[in-house]
Symmetry: C3
Subunit: 135 residues, 3 copies
């Protein structure tokens, strides 16, 4: 099964969508298998991170923003906005695809793990993620 999920973003940051993915797994009826996600953009990415304490997500976002600042004089690709080239770099440093085993009909995530869309642009409204569920 291949489906396209839409995740609303609207601002830079981490947006959890674990429940949307698990709902697709439920609908597929897969008891044991593999769920693979691919984000169809190059200025947003995917990550699996702690979903319990928002301070961890907050620090992660700020750390990466400091490593890859806007208005770096190195950038020549600037005509799409000051946040565009940093977004491509952040995307390359994190994940475009992720795969999660499924057991007993559930995503095999750890207790504190959530699946996040990481929006790297200021004004993108939503992102598309292709999801494959197989055995």
């Amino acid at each position: 099964m291949v489906e396209i999920l839409t995740v609303s973003t609207g601002r830079q940051g981490l947006f959890e969508f674990t429940a949307q993915v698990q709902a697709l797994v439920d609908r597929s009826g897969t008891e044991e298998g593999l769920c693979t996600l691919l984000i169809q953009h190059t200025s947003a990415s995917l990550t699996i991170q702690e979903n319990a304490d928002p301070s961890a997500q907050h620090d992660l976002e700020r750390w990466l923003a400091r490593l890859v600042p806007e208005n770096d004089s190195l950038y020549t690709h600037t005509f799409e906005g000051a946040d565009d080239m940093p977004a491509h770099i952040k995307s390359a440093l994190t994940s475009t695809s992720l795969s999660i085993p499924i057991k007993s009909g559930r995503l095999c995530l750890g207790t504190w793990q959530g699946v996040f869309c990481w929006e790297h642009r200021h004004h993108a409204s939503s992102r598309k993620i292709a999801v494959h569920i197989g055995r």
Copy 2:
């Protein structure tokens, strides 16, 4: 087939577990297929790196420790210890899931490639990795 592997760590660093993964592939009887790993933690990660020369692993660990130091004044998520927030960041910069094709019953790795659990905390004793083997 979905199984959970346990890799002993105990200190920061790279711990190779290629043989444990190949043993699961052997047990599954899969001649051609795909083996996918997901680490069920957000303060340790996965990487495929050179397994021949320990100096390459050593430099890799030290380089990442310098990029993501402890006690950075940026961190607000500090109550789980000075090594916790750097561990989440290192995890986001490396891999949470990895997929390896299987051919003739063997993981299709290059000659010098090994599969490693990268422990980012000082005192974690072991890590769980979900493994899916499919065709």
Copy 3:
């Protein structure tokens, strides 16, 4: 189906090979499924990036070269050349494996996404990539 693709590189940089992967998907006759790539090297990597504007690729390469320079006094693994240890680090920060859903016989990539081999060494002539196509 598992096949080995060869991508010519020859110098540091991003080399797109989306067409080679789509040709394998075509040959497999897969209408809906999953295509997984694993690069069999630890001094080159994979990335999905914008394939429209070469300036984005150029900035990405230069940014990573600045983050991970040659001749850093931290390196002890130096006998394979000044570009070897930076290549391992760059490989760890980007991707060794990538998975792309297939729908209606096409890789489910976004409009501007291309699949690239990222060569991190100055004089490597080509790289091998294991490709699994499944349902």
